[in-house]
């Protein structure tokens, strides 16, 4: 039986293709588990997990929490807004205080890039990165690829375009790493101001024409414009953004083929995607959410397997 090649899940960059395959195989089993009448297994009864969220999150936090509960782990939750971080405590002090309560795994979201890598070097626990700044969001990329694999059978050779605010998106970067590792072709599409300059060094092509990008792809992963991360105006108006990069039914009908629509959420309906597209049969947005629980169960399970008690 195989094991993950890493001791933590810090980013897709640290994973091998075999790790992704192993996570997907394990997630298949957990997907069966979460569709049973009783959706819980006792594997992690003796494991305690701390969910540290130094940045707002709804979906990821709920998804991790549910995955942990389905595995019977004990959980403590922590949000920066209600904590001593506000009183000036450092990250390592905060985490070491929590670890002295005998915590085995830390799931952390943090606004600073590299926070989880930093933590993994200084504390004695398994670290799972639930998003660090605009850097990586590995479990989201894994569940996105898993959803593509579920819908199209295979990821290798498929053409995926990531549309929208690439510059501020950790989902985009992790997705690019994950998809390329599995042999998919990746393009990005969006206003040039929201596409990072280094993107071509990753082997990713840039397409600024939405219709051309959609005509090329098998799957469109649509991202939200992250206004909260913008300190300047990157485009003249939301209305103009929607006209140039918003996906609606008319554009999709004009393609002459059916492509798969994905969105990591939260959706700004009517901005990057219209409601009739988000709720259509082509959209696998809700499947992504369901698969998120199975993928996170698989990641936690595989990392917990390395803990010797």
């Amino acid at each position: 039986m195989k094991q993950l090649s890493t001791a933590h899940l810090l980013g897709i960059k640290h994973l091998k293709k075999e790790d992704i395959d192993l996570i997907f195989e394990t997630a298949d089993h957990f997907k069966e588990v979460i569709n049973r009448p009783i959706k819980k297994v006792p594997s992690l009864r003796d494991i305690t997990i701390a969910n540290l969220f130094f940045e707002n999150s709804t979906r990821t936090k709920l998804s991790f929490e549910l995955a942990e509960k389905r595995l019977s782990a004990d959980i403590i939750n922590f949000s920066a807004s209600q904590s001593s971080v506000k009183k000036g405590e450092t990250l390592i002090d905060t985490v070491n205080n929590i670890l002295s309560m005998k915590v085995d795994i830390v799931v952390m979201r943090h606004p600073n890039v590299g926070a989880s890598v930093f933590l993994s070097k200084h504390v004695d626990a398994k670290i799972i990165n639930a998003g660090d700044g605009a850097h990586e969001h590995p479990t989201q990329a894994l569940l996105d690829s898993y959803s593509i694999r579920e819908k199209l059978g295979i990821v290798k050779g498929k053409k995926i375009v990531i549309i929208g605010d690439i510059l501020h998106s950790r989902v985009a970067l992790s997705n690019i790493f994950a998809l390329q590792l599995q042999g998919a072709k990746v393009k990005v599409c969006g206003p040039t101001t929201l596409i990072p300059k280094y993107i071509s060094s990753l082997g990713v092509e840039v397409e600024t024409n939405l219709k051309k990008a959609l005509a090329w792809c098998d799957v469109a992963n649509v991202l939200r414009v992250q206004h909260e991360r913008m300190d300047i105006n990157y485009f003249p108006s939301i209305r103009e953004y929607t006209q140039l990069f918003g996906i609606n039914k008319k554009i999709l009908d004009g393609l002459g083929k059916e492509i798969v629509i994905m969105h990591p959420g939260p959706i700004n309906r009517g901005v990057e995607i219209t409601s009739d597209v988000a709720d259509s049969n082509q959209s696998i947005i809700l499947n992504q959410v369901e698969n998120g629980v199975a993928i996170r169960m698989a990641v936690i399970y595989l990392l917990a397997q390395q803990i010797k008690k």
């Binding site: 039986m1 195989k2 094991q3 394990t26 089993h29 069966e32 588990v33 049973r36 009448p37 009783i38 959706k39 819980k40 297994v41 006792p42 594997s43 595995l71 399970y301 917990a304 397997q305 803990i307 010797k308 008690k309």
Partner: protein
Amino acid sequence: MAKKTLLNSKDIHIILHRLACQLIENHNDFNNTVLIGLQPRGIFLAQRLQDVLQKDYNITDIKLGQLDITFYRDDFRRREAPLAASNTTIDFIVEGKKVVIIDDVLFSGRSIRSALTAIQSFGRPESIELLVLIDRRFSRHLPIQPDYKGRQVDVINSEKVKVSWQEQDKKDAVYILSDY
């Protein structure tokens, strides 16, 4: 490594028929009974029993499932090699049913303990029985005994009982493997 044949394919054939008859004695036409083979190696025995019951005793409507107990094991993280999960296929509800759990070898009883927990995820059975091909006596860690057994053997802990099936190993046989 020494290898001694405990049962050959003819012995297994006879035992399968005896076990099938014993099941019929207790479960009649199986209308309220389900067979659950444990992954990874109990599923072959469960499938064989279903085949015998169908072909030789004309009991056609037998529900058969496969249960994987990896996530329910109590030795998770205590083993050298990590555990690999197998598929669970139970496309019926076990609520109110008589369940027969089927495995190839009963040794410490820990797999069966896990299976008893796992099966409850699919409902509350009316009763649960245990059928095994080989019962290794005097090796139990838990108070678990089989209701139906093919052959009882006394082997020391360092010896291994290996059941080989036509479907996977190209031959029906049971061996005892030892280091000397």
